[in-house]
């Protein structure tokens, strides 16, 4: 699940909760799902991988990454 689909789903849930016609159980389930997705999205924001690497194509057709010093 990608960051933007998480965000889009949360926005969607907010919209759904703003419309008043859903049963309370459903509202609570939606809210819980929204919080869960928010957690995922925030985790994605904070995962630290601040490196620059170089893509290397191996002779067997596979790929590997090597550190690249800029």
């Amino acid at each position: 699940m990608s960051y933007e689909s998480d965000l889009a789903r949360i926005e969607n849930i907010v919209g759904e909760l703003e419309r008043s016609e859903i049963p309370l159980d459903d509202a609570l389930r939606l809210f819980e799902e929204g919080i869960e997705r928010l957690r995922t999205a925030q985790a994605a924001l904070l995962q630290a991988e601040a490196r620059v690497r170089k893509l290397i194509e191996e002779s067997d057709g596979g790929f590997s990454l090597a550190d690249f010093e800029s």
Partner: protein, 423 residues
């Protein structure tokens, strides 16, 4: 076929005086030791070979001219099967044979046509095999950039015809990529700019360099290899392809139709960032996003981390607010309903009370007890049945008299039915 037969004449006229001027024949006469080594061709006894002549002419000509720009009209253009291009450059009353080696063809944007006015950069030489003056061309363009424009227009049209320029093809870029691949030269300014901007905006995103040759011979093929490589690898969310500013020739690999097609076919969303703002290449046209510079590409690729965090926080607030309102709306409705219920209950019980008392009034009026209250009595048998007629009585039978304030046990003495027209 007429032209080749005409050309040798002015060439020999041109070559001979130079050749002899550079090797003055008089010197040997005054120097006895050199008399034995007569320069070839100085006398009838020591003729020069044709090979020596043309080779010597080649040396002289090449020494006399540095690479020069020449303007003329293309004629007799042929692409030989050996890969080289041959043509003549014609002026009004002169022409010169030109060759463009296959190793230089990548520099030429499009195929020149006969009759086209061009400017070429070439080194003048002699083609010894024919003793012909020849220009070795390294660069060629139609007067006024025509060839570049022609090549670009033709390629653009083909891409358009194949639907590759459709705006609907453009995919949105991921808002928060985890990894961004950068196809560019490992030591170019573009890579540096992209790294600086991406680190500043969103230091949590990983940058993966896919090194490629971005200019010169073989650059298009290398760019295509890099694009294909990223596609096969696939473990990346966004691809930036680009380079810093440069001459039109430097940027030309990004105008390669083959490169543009490879980029259009890339399964991962692409950002093209070639040169400066004014430079628009075929890659820019087919990429999902066109950035005017490599720095702008980095800006388009990643959000500002702090903004994204703030956005997530405001989403959390929106979510919480929506749920709270959801509950509040329900509570309000519940309260309203409860109040309505209470009110309707109250209204209902009042109605019932009124009805009960009305019925009670009517019931009371009809009650036989009301009649007894006025002083009447009712006779009933032991079972409680009313004895309303003399026929219900027999002498000596017991019965009850029901009065206003109690019951009297009585016995029948005699029975006297009413007779005639009454008493």
């Amino acid at each position: 076929m007429r032209r080749p037969s005409r050309r040798p004449l002015p060439q020999t006229e041109l070559l001979e005086p130079q050749l002899f001027a550079s090797e003055p024949p008089r010197n040997y006469g005054s120097r006895a030791p050199q008399a034995a080594a007569l320069p070839a061709g100085a006398t009838r006894e020591h003729p020069m070979t044709v090979e020596a002549l043309t080779t010597s002419a080649k040396t002289v000509i090449e020494g006399a001219f540095s690479p020069i720009w020449i303007r003329g009209e293309i004629s007799s253009f042929t692409r030989h099967q050996n890969g080289h291009w041959y043509f003549s450059l014609r002026g009004e009353k002169a022409s010169i044979r030109c060759v463009l080696w296959s190793s230089n063809i990548w520099r030429i944007p499009a195929l020149p046509e006969n009759g086209m006015q061009v400017v070429v950069l070439g080194q003048l030489t002699v083609y010894p095999f024919r003793g012909e003056l020849q220009c070795m061309v390294t660069s060629l363009d139609a007067v006024g950039d025509g060839l570049w424009r022609k090549a670009l227009a033709e390629s653009t049209e083909r891409l358009r015809a194949d639907g590759l320029l459709e705006p609907s093809r453009k995919r949105p870029l991921p808002r928060l990529p985890r990894r961004v691949a950068v196809i560019t030269s490992p030591d170019g300014a573009a890579l540096h700019d992209i790294i600086v901007v991406m680190r500043r905006r969103c230091p949590t995103v990983e940058i993966v360099l896919v090194p490629a040759k971005v200019q010169g011979e073989g650059a298009p093929a290398d760019l295509m290899r890099a694009i294909a490589c990223v596609g096969r690898w696939g473990a990346v969310d966004t691809v930036i392809i680009g380079r810093g500013g440069g001459s039109r020739e430097d940027l030309w690999a990004f105008n390669s139709e083959a490169v543009a097609r490879a980029l259009a076919a890339c399964a991962i969303p692409t950002i093209s960032a070639v040169g400066h703002e004014v430079d628009i290449t075929l890659c820019d046209l087919v990429a999902d996003h066109r950035a005017p510079t490599p720095s702008a590409a980095a800006e388009a690729a990643v959000p500002v981390l702090a903004d994204a965090i703030a956005e997530a926080a405001s989403l959390r607030e929106a979510l919480r607010g929506a749920l709270v309102r959801q509950v509040e709306r329900r509570r309000d409705r519940l309260q309203r309903t409860a109040a309505e219920l209470r009110a309707s209950l109250e209204r209902g019980s009042e109605r019932r009370r009124a009805r009960v008392s009305a019925v009670a009034g009517r019931l009371h009026a009809l009650s036989p007890l009301a009649v007894l209250a006025r002083g009447y009595a009712v006779a009933r048998d032991a079972g409680g049945a009313t004895l309303g007629s003399v026929e219900n009585f027999t002498p000596a039978s017991d019965f009850d008299l029901l009065l206003r304030d109690g019951t009297v046990r009585a016995t029948t003495r005699s029975v006297h039915p009413a007779r005639g027209d009454g008493e």
